[in-house]
Amino acid sequence: MLVVRRHRNGEFVFEERRPPQNNLLTLVIMALMFLSFQANLHRHMQAQQAGHGSHSFHERNKYGGPQRNLHPKFHHKLEEEIPIKVNGTLLIGIRKEERKRYLPDKDANFLCLDGKQTVKFEQVNDNNCDCEDGSDEPGTSACDYHFYCEPEHRYLRSKLVNDGVCDCCDGSDEWKGLTLSDENKLPREGEGVRFTPCSDVCYDYELQEAVRLDVIAQGKEIKESYVKAAEHLDNFEKANFGRNGEFFKLSTLCLTYRSPTYLYKLCPYKEATQDDGTKPDALSLGKGGVLNLSDPNSPKLLMPNGKGDGCPSGISRSVEINFMCGVADEIAYVSEPSTCLYRFDLNTPAAC
């Protein structure tokens, strides 16, 4: 990991290197590559600048489209070979596959990724938003854009860059090494959030990620038996049980969940109840069930028509089941987000 500092004139300089243990070798190689490359590039850019006037930062793309006319030096480079610093510009926050698009063209310009605008290459990651689409600032917080967190294979919103909170597991989003003032100092530890200076916790992240993927893989396998269990239904009957009837199996089950105060019993598509142990009958929270797949990543089952006693006027209790991918059918948590509306978070292979 590199820690860099920005000079008054906008130039980034390396201040200190804090290589994470498992990336030490990569870093040394990168550094060597960078040094030899820098020398060549520098000579070439001087020649370039001698021949061309400066560009206004909002100058339109002369080349008519996103087709890039790369500087010959970069023509056949593989993504992996592109150094992290090109002509003084740090190429951070960029996904490997996109690196090629972050190289100067023959006029030392950068074509914004939407192809609509050309800016000087030195305006890439210079902490000033120049492209309308924000693509000139993948590594800073200047635009409403995104920063690629390499080890987690995901984009972070640009606003997470250099804000004093470590969001990427290797801490690369906090490359500026900023910490908040003593007055605004964040607490030392928090659930799932880490603070500058960042430590590399990618090992933990990978472990969690492996577990998550494993659950999905196993869940998907089990899900096949759920689909099979609904085979005897015709399409009309299946309609309320998911695309392939995978939620049908749940309608044949009853699950329980004990909170500190209540015993919840849930028979999806039939009835959900809450029992506080003081009355002969448990309180009905909802009956029947309507599947809602409007958000494909978060299927829900709505069970309306529970008891209305003690509820805000005009409403009766109802249940919303949030299905989440799991290897077994189990209730993870029950809550009451609004008075008389109950939410059951239910792990099930059907949602994998």
Partner: protein
């Protein structure tokens, strides 16, 4: 008050139950002594006068046949004149918010009366100090207040001065005790009201007297009810009412094209105020004014206490607010996070719920600074405790929220569950600081926890004890990221008269509740503020209160209580907050979305748009309301609400400056148009739009289905719509589009400069190091100016000079960014100026832009959009200095 289904059964209550609250006719002293519409009785004559207290107070003896003699003390303070009246020899002492064991309460001691010049001639006696004079007729006690020889206001102009004589009980007198519904008031001292009239000369418009829901301009009350000031927990209050609400400031500001001035009736008992505007033909006030002038008559009537009238000369409204807050305390400078967005609900139910709400702000890319916990977080409504089942690990929960730079707030109310095993109850009992019944036993009333005792916040010992409870070692699981909300501090007593305390209940030093009622809520908030200072002296406290009184501005913000999810309540938030602002209470807000009921997403969105431009910005909802966090309604609503909230974060640097100005001089951030355009009479009744400072004009949409707003641009000035560069500047009247995907119409006044932060993070704390953008609007001479304020956002170090106060001016060619004369030494290591946006620059780009800072010069690039010039990356430090020349 948040009566739940449990208390109400399942009956849907649509409106306030007026029968629970007194009208003038239900209050014996109001019924008896509301003489506003009658002629004055035979006038008092001044029978004796002498200068006392080193010639700083004129003591007058007032007499009339058949009434006890009165003693009037006249003095002139640096900020205004004071008239204090009571009986010459009262049978019992009368309560005086000043005459308390800790007189620093209202800061009056810090502003001692000045040495007086006495003049007695032609049947008048006058005192003068500086430009101010009080001139009294000896024949009939009428006192004129003038400033630089101009008569501003006249006390007792109509001879309505009346002090009900304190006397021994006479069993035949029917007014001795009083009943309201099932509640009896024993009233051991009998009738003891005080009243007087004050006439503002040359005035057609009065403002102030918060908290009420009728028009911003105070209404003529001859035909209806007077304004009532008596802090009450009013369930489901209604709009266009002069009923009492949660707080009261007995302050009226008069405004005319020539002058603003004001009156403060400093009395902590129930008070009724009548208003009447009088045509020049019928005017009565002055011996001096040549010719007839319009007058505004006021009549003040309080149940007990002394007459303590302060008259402020102005002559501008800014000076009125300055004078008033010198006397009663400057507004607190809030920690910056408190000026950002607050998310509240009765109730976030447990720790997973809080974690999810906290997380959802990030999932939906919405900034937020504070998550609030209402009463259900406690162990059985025992404040300072946590429900062990729902909140088993509060430290972890708070830390998790704080890890994104956010804070949490818990509710701590002044009613204490009667339970000997509850350490707060038993501790306060041992300290003997509860309010007492007349016989001396502990007073108990019904509130959230059931049977409750009430800490006596008028007792300095009680406040000290309460403050101790906020020490980290005392308030278990509290942390530097946890702050406080004081609700129900009117005080609310469910089974008391008008949902409050019996008036014959006994407070510190034997004062009856009737005498100190308005001081109670103030004491709660003050003691909590002092508690937070005790636990961490250098952090700015944050305490939200519902009840308020004169002086509340020193201790923190208030909100307008339990409003409803209705368009009329959205609309009403403007006159309510403006009235508070001109009355010296600047940090105020209304619950976004409306507390009761369920807003349609359109109403909620419009409310977010408006709330983002009001000083205290918090969304809140009733226990029985459906969830309505900004992401609940999905698109397009989430996006619209996100945009509305983000606007607040962009403008935080402007709010910083406005709150600092407020803290230094008492002027409110949220101002009526006439505040900045005092001579523009058309603006006097405007309450559909307002200004932030003298910089932004805010013209919200407040009607269902509406997509345009008719906007009035005052003073012939040009106004530029923020972020709309292709639209020409507005002036006069115009219809402005405010469609679905548009921002609330907000306009930058030509000639003004302000700073914004365009990188919106998860919370304002995380924006600390971020660069600023300068927004400049050129006036017709291509000039503009403004001020910027920076400090560490959270500590009291600014009091030691750790702040930076910048002056920015543009003269058509050069922009000068430098320290103002009042600046301190604060330096921000990281924040720089990243962009300069000049509205009204013109469509042709400049030839060159050169910046020079610290001896070096460099050229800047720029770009024109419409008629706005965008100057790229000046890169100068926000707390440094630079000049920029545009050729």
């Amino acid at each position: 008050m948040r009566l739940s289904a449990a208390l109400l059964g399942s009956v849907l209550v649509e409106a306030v139950d007026r029968n629970n609250f007194k009208k003038c006719a239900d209050s014996s002293f109001c019924q008896r002594r509301r003489v506003f519409n009658s002629d004055g009785v035979s006038p008092y004559a001044v029978t004796k006068s002498e200068l006392i207290e080193n010639d700083s107070i004129l003591q007058l003896t007032l007499e009339v046949d058949g009434r006890p003699c009165l003693k009037a003390l006249h003095s002139i303070l640096p900020v205004g004149a004071r008239i204090n009246i009571e009986e010459c020899e009262p049978l019992h002492p009368r309560y005086d918010p000043e005459a308390r064991p800790s007189p620093e309460e209202l800061l009056i001691d810090g502003h001692a009366p000045q040495k007086l010049k006495l003049d007695e001639s032609n049947g008048f006696i006058s005192i003068q100090a500086g430009d101010m004079r009080l001139k009294t007729s000896l024949e009939s006690y009428i006192t004129e207040f003038s400033h630089k020889d101009e008569v501003i206001s006249v006390a007792n102009s109509r001879n309505l001065l009346f002090v009900e004589e304190l006397r021994e009980k006479n069993d035949d007198e029917p007014s001795w005790e009083e009943k309201f519904k099932s509640h009896k008031d024993s009233r051991p001292r009998g009738p003891e009201s005080v009243s007087m009239d004050v006439v503002f000369t040359n005035s057609r418009n009065l403002y102030g007297l918060p908290e009420h829901t009728d028009s911003f301009v105070l209404a003529n009350t001859e035909e209806g009810e007077p304004y009532r000031l008596f802090n009450l927990d009013v369930f489901q209050f209604e709009i266009d009412e002069r009923m009492a609400l949660y707080g009261g400031i007995p302050f009226v500001a008069s405004h005319s094209p020539e002058r603003s001035s004001a009156a403060l009736w400093l009395n902590a008992a129930e008070t009724w105020v009548d208003i009447k505007y009088v045509d020049p033909e019928a005017s009565i006030a002055s011996w001096f004014t040549s010719g007839k002038v319009p007058e505004a008559h006021t009549f003040w009537l309080s149940e007990t206490g002394k007459i303590d009238l302060f008259l402020f000369p102005g002559p501008s409204i800014q000076e009125v607010n300055d004078q008033y807050t010198v006397l009663t305390g400057r507004p607190q400078l809030p920690p910056q996070w408190a000026t950002a967005y607050h998310q509240c609900k009765w109730n976030y139910r447990d720790e997973p719920d809080v974690a999810e709400v906290n997380e959802n702000f990030d999932v939906h890319d919405i900034p937020a600074d504070v998550i609030w916990l209402d009463i259900e977080h406690t162990d059985g409504k025992r404040y300072f405790t946590w429900d062990p089942v729902k909140f088993p690990t509060p430290d972890k929960m708070i830390e998790n929220v704080a890890s994104k730079g956010r804070k949490m707030v818990t509710i701590v109310d002044p009613h204490i569950k009667v339970d000997n095993n509850y350490y707060i109850y038993s501790g306060a009992k041992e300290a003997d600081i509860y309010v007492k019944k007349p016989g001396g036993a502990e007073f108990n009333g019904w509130c959230w926890p059931g049977n409750s005792a009430y800490i006596d916040f008028t007792d300095p010992r009680a406040r000290e004890w309460w403050a101790e409870q906020f020490l980290f070692e005392n308030y278990k699981h509290s942390s530097p990221s946890l702050y406080t909300w004081n609700d129900m501090n009117e005080p609310s007593v469910f089974n008391g008269p008008e949902v409050s305390m019996q008036r014959d209940i006994i407070h510190h030093n034997g004062w009856e509740h009737r005498a100190v009622h308005q001081m109670y809520g103030l004491g709660v908030q003050r003691a909590t503020y002092e508690g937070q200072l005790k636990r961490d002296p250098n952090s700015r406290p944050f305490v939200l209160s519902r009840a308020f009184f004169v002086g509340t501005q020193q201790w923190g913000p208030i909100w307008t209580g339990d409003n409803g999810a209705e368009w009329s309540h959205l609309k009403s938030s403007i006159p309510m907050l403006l009235a508070l602002g001109v009355s010296g209470m600047p940090f105020v807000g209304a619950d976004v979305g409306g507390f009761f009921g369920n807003p349609e997403p359109e109403l909620l969105w419009r409310w977010y748009q408006l709330g983002a431009f009001q000083p205290f910005f918090r969304a809140h909802a009733h226990l029985d309301s459906k969830r309505r966090e900004p992401w609940v309604f999905e698109e397009p609503w989430t996006g619209r609400m996100r945009n509305a909230i983000r606007y607040r974060y962009r403008l935080l640097p402007l709010w910083n400056e406005l709150f600092y100005e407020s803290h230094k001089t008492g002027v409110p951030p949220m101002r009526p148009i006439w505040y900045n355009y005092p001579k523009e009479t058309e603006s006097y009744g405007v309450e559909e739009e307002y200004m932030l400072g003298d910089t932004l004009l805010v013209a919200p949409v407040m009607e269902e289905g509406k997509r345009d707003v008719e906007v009035y641009f005052p003073g012939g000035d040009k106004y530029f719509r923020l972020d709309y560069h292709e639209t020409p500047a507005y002036s006069g009247n115009a219809v402005v589009s405010a469609g679905e995907d548009e921002q609330i119409p907000v306009f930058l006044k030509a000639g003004r400069i302000f700073a914004s932060k365009e990188r919106i993070r998860r919370s304002s704390t995380l924006m600390e190091n971020d660069p600023i953008t300068l927004n400049i609007a050129l006036d017709s001479e291509r000039k503009a100016s403004g001020k910027l304020y920076f400090d560490d956002q959270i500590t009291h170090d600014y009091q030691k000079g750790e702040f930076s106060y910048k002056e920015v001016s543009f003269d058509g060619k050069s922009l000068n960014y430098s320290d103002s004369a009042q600046t301190g030494v604060f330096q921000s290591e990281h924040s720089f100026v990243e962009q300069i946006v000049i509205y009204g620059f013109g469509s042709s780009a400049p030839k060159s832009i050169q910046i020079s800072s610290n001896g070096s010069n460099w050229q800047l690039e720029s770009q024109v959009k419409g008629t706005t010039l965008f100057i790229r990356k000046p890169n100068a430090k926000s707390t440094g200095s630079f000049t920029l020349t545009i050729e």
